[in-house]
């Protein structure tokens, strides 16, 4: 479909290849600096350890450690706990958020729903509030003494402490759900809107109710959008940082290695770059395995369903 394919190796074609290269060059160069180099350098850094002499008098030296940092990180109880914590938050929060997004998208897509424009805007508004400002706002909404939610609870006789140890994970999950449901809903909703109306109409003629149309017609068609939002959400949860970092300022009980990125950040602060690099690599691997594994899983299921 591109113009140049029809022309074999003519001077024109050669000039066009040069043009294409020139057009791509700025992006390629920046991509090399911002993606390729840091990733390569991080993997390289993760193979070195800082060696301090016993008295700490001379500057620490960098020594090759092979996979030593990786062994340390995998034995590091705090780091392991942070990985597990993020995994648990993801396992609960992602299905809740996407279930809610799907429900709202289906309701908005239903023919008889009123005030569609208003609801769409209301649900999308949190996406316009950047994650960290949303987190800041929620930190005050749950802060002991300031929280209007705790005050409401007290009015009906409920004792709520939203920053207690037990409530930290649900509070963070709520921040994520508040911030990202509308965005995911809009992706699913856009996919729903692309379904030809005749399809639902035909199902209605056959006597299908709204629920059965949603379940048997609409949800299977928007499956790709659901898969996409799930993969993005898995990756998003793996890099969880803003919400707990901001929450910590009103909840000092929040561990300073709450998520893997926290842990890597702390290692940077300690000038232990090798260890920070190792933790980053492990986290990236985990995010990759989970999102790729999920894709493979749904592909296999899809193939089984089709056969």
């Amino acid at each position: 479909m591109s113009v140049a394919t029809s022309l074999a190796v003519s001077p024109h074609a050669r000039r066009r290849v040069r043009t294409a290269a020139a057009f791509l060059a700025p992006f390629a160069l920046l991509f090399a600096v911002v993606y390729v180099a840091p990733i390569g350098y991080t993997v390289y850094q993760s193979l070195f350890k800082l060696h301090r002499d016993g008295l700490g008098l001379s500057a620490p030296t960098k020594v090759f450690a092979g996979l030593g940092n990786y062994v340390d990180a995998l034995h590091d109880a705090d780091f392991r706990a942070s990985l597990l914590r993020v995994l648990l938050i993801g396992v609960v929060q992602v299905p809740v958020m996407l279930g809610l997004a799907l429900l709202l998208a289906l309701l908005l897509d239903a023919r008889s729903t009123l005030f569609k424009r208003f609801f769409r805007l209301a649900f999308f508004l949190p996406y316009a509030v950047p994650g960290v400002v949303g987190a800041l706002m929620w930190s005050y909404l749950v802060a002991p003494g300031l929280s209007p939610i705790t005050a409401l609870g007290k009015a009906v006789g409920l004792h709520l402490d939203l920053t207690s140890n037990a409530m930290l994970a649900p509070t963070i999950g709520n921040m994520l759900t508040w911030g990202w449901t509308g965005y995911n809903m809009l992706i699913i909703y856009s996919a729903l809107q692309a379904i030809p109306p005749e399809l639902s109409e035909a199902a209605r003629m056959d006597g299908c109710g709204a629920f059965r149309i949603a379940w048997h017609v609409k949800i299977p068609i928007v499956r790709p959008a659901l898969v996409l939002t799930t993969v993005f959400s898995i990756i998003g949860t793996a890099q969880l940082y803003n919400e707990p970092a901001v929450l910590q300022h009103v909840a000092p009980n929040l561990s300073s290695s709450y998520t893997p990125i926290f842990a890597a950040y702390n290692a940077v602060d300690d000038n232990n770059f090798g260890y920070a690099a190792t933790e980053s690599v492990l986290l990236a691997l985990l995010a990759f395995v989970l999102s790729f594994g999920f894709l493979k899983l749904v592909q296999r299921r899809g193939a089984e369903a089709a056969s």
Binding site: V3, A20, A37, A128, V132, P148, A151, Q239, A245, A264
Partner: protein, 306 residues
């Protein structure tokens, strides 16, 4: 299924309201409609109440924050003194933060859009060896979250003394694989090959064809690319938080969290001022979102076709 063959923009916004109108007549009596309305109503309270709280709290004095009902106005109306306080604290550093954010997000997104448009157009309209490979690399990079790159970037920028400079945030901000991906789809869908060929017949050079024909046809799509990158730079907190130790260089997000971290103790910035400053900082974004909805949706639709 190649992405470039899929339609990009569907007539979404126009169709849904007309559909709902005809539908509403037919099933006006259904009780399901009230249940639907109820569920959507509860959900919108959940999404709107925190923002409402933020707006209401920006009008209160610090002590009224603790003593009055959070979801309604109360005490002395202090919005203007809060604003004054927010804008003048520490020699007016809040203004500086807003300007920094405008530079990072506005400047970064502008350059990023230009770079993405060039690359996307090249990937869509020129045949060369390795084109598919290049596009697959771009697609894979879309899945790499920016914050996950922040620590590697810090490790790389630290030895070359880029840390704690404007460049530490600006350089990573101008790279947007998602922008390239969108630009490629849009270029393939909106710039006809015949038009390019006609330009060549008339003796126009490749650069001239790009600037006079392609850019104009792609311009609505480039607004979408700009918006997505603008918001993604605005909301990337970890990168500037790591890179910028000096508060004169920080964007408003990092600055605000710095104020929040003082926890209102002693001489610290009081809660009502932090809240007011936070509320003010999102106003431009919310306005941009509401007024440019059309562009968001076309980007999200293209995103979901992957």
């Amino acid at each position: 299924m190649t992405v470039s063959q899929l339609p990009v923009e569907r007539p979404v916004a126009e169709s849904d309201d007309s559909r709902s109108r005809t539908g509403a007549d037919r099933s006006a009596a259904s009780p399901g409609r009230w249940v639907t309305l109820g569920v959507l109503g509860v959900a919108s309270v959940y999404f709107l109440a925190p923002v409402w709280w933020l707006v209401v709290s920006a009008t209160k004095t610090n002590s009224a924050l603790f003593t009055t009902d959070g979801f309604w106005f109360g005490g002395h109306f202090a919005l203007f003194s809060n604003l004054h306080d927010a804008f003048t604290r520490q020699g007016g550093i809040y203004v500086r933060w807003l300007l920094n954010t405008a530079l990072y997000a506005g400047g970064g997104a502008l350059v990023s859009t230009a770079v993405s448009a060039l690359a996307g157009y090249a990937l869509a309209k020129y045949a060369f060896r390795g084109r598919e490979f290049a596009f697959n690399v771009v697609l894979a990079a879309v899945l790499v979250p920016q914050p996950l790159l922040a620590i590697p970037l810090y490790l790389l920028f630290s030895p070359v003394h880029l840390v704690n400079t404007y460049w530490a945030v600006l350089i990573p901000s101008v790279v947007s694989p998602f922008g390239v991906y969108l630009s490629r789809i849009y270029a393939a869908a909106s710039v006809p090959d015949e038009l390019i060929e006609a330009g060549r017949m008339d003796g126009a050079g490749e650069v001239r064809i790009f600037t006079t024909i392609a850019l104009r046809l792609m311009s609505p799509a480039l607004v979408t690319v700009f918006l997505f990158q603008f918001v993604s730079i605005w909301s990337n907190y970890l990168l500037p938080a790591l890179m910028l130790a000096s508060d004169r260089l920080q964007p408003v997000t990092v600055g605000l969290v710095g104020w929040q971290a003082q926890r209102g103790i002693g001489d610290a910035v009081p809660f009502n001022v932090v809240i007011t400053a936070a509320a003010v900082s999102v106003v431009p974004l919310v306005v941009m979102f509401l007024s440019l909805q059309r562009f968001w949706r076309s980007g999200l639709v293209a995103g979901s076709l992957k």
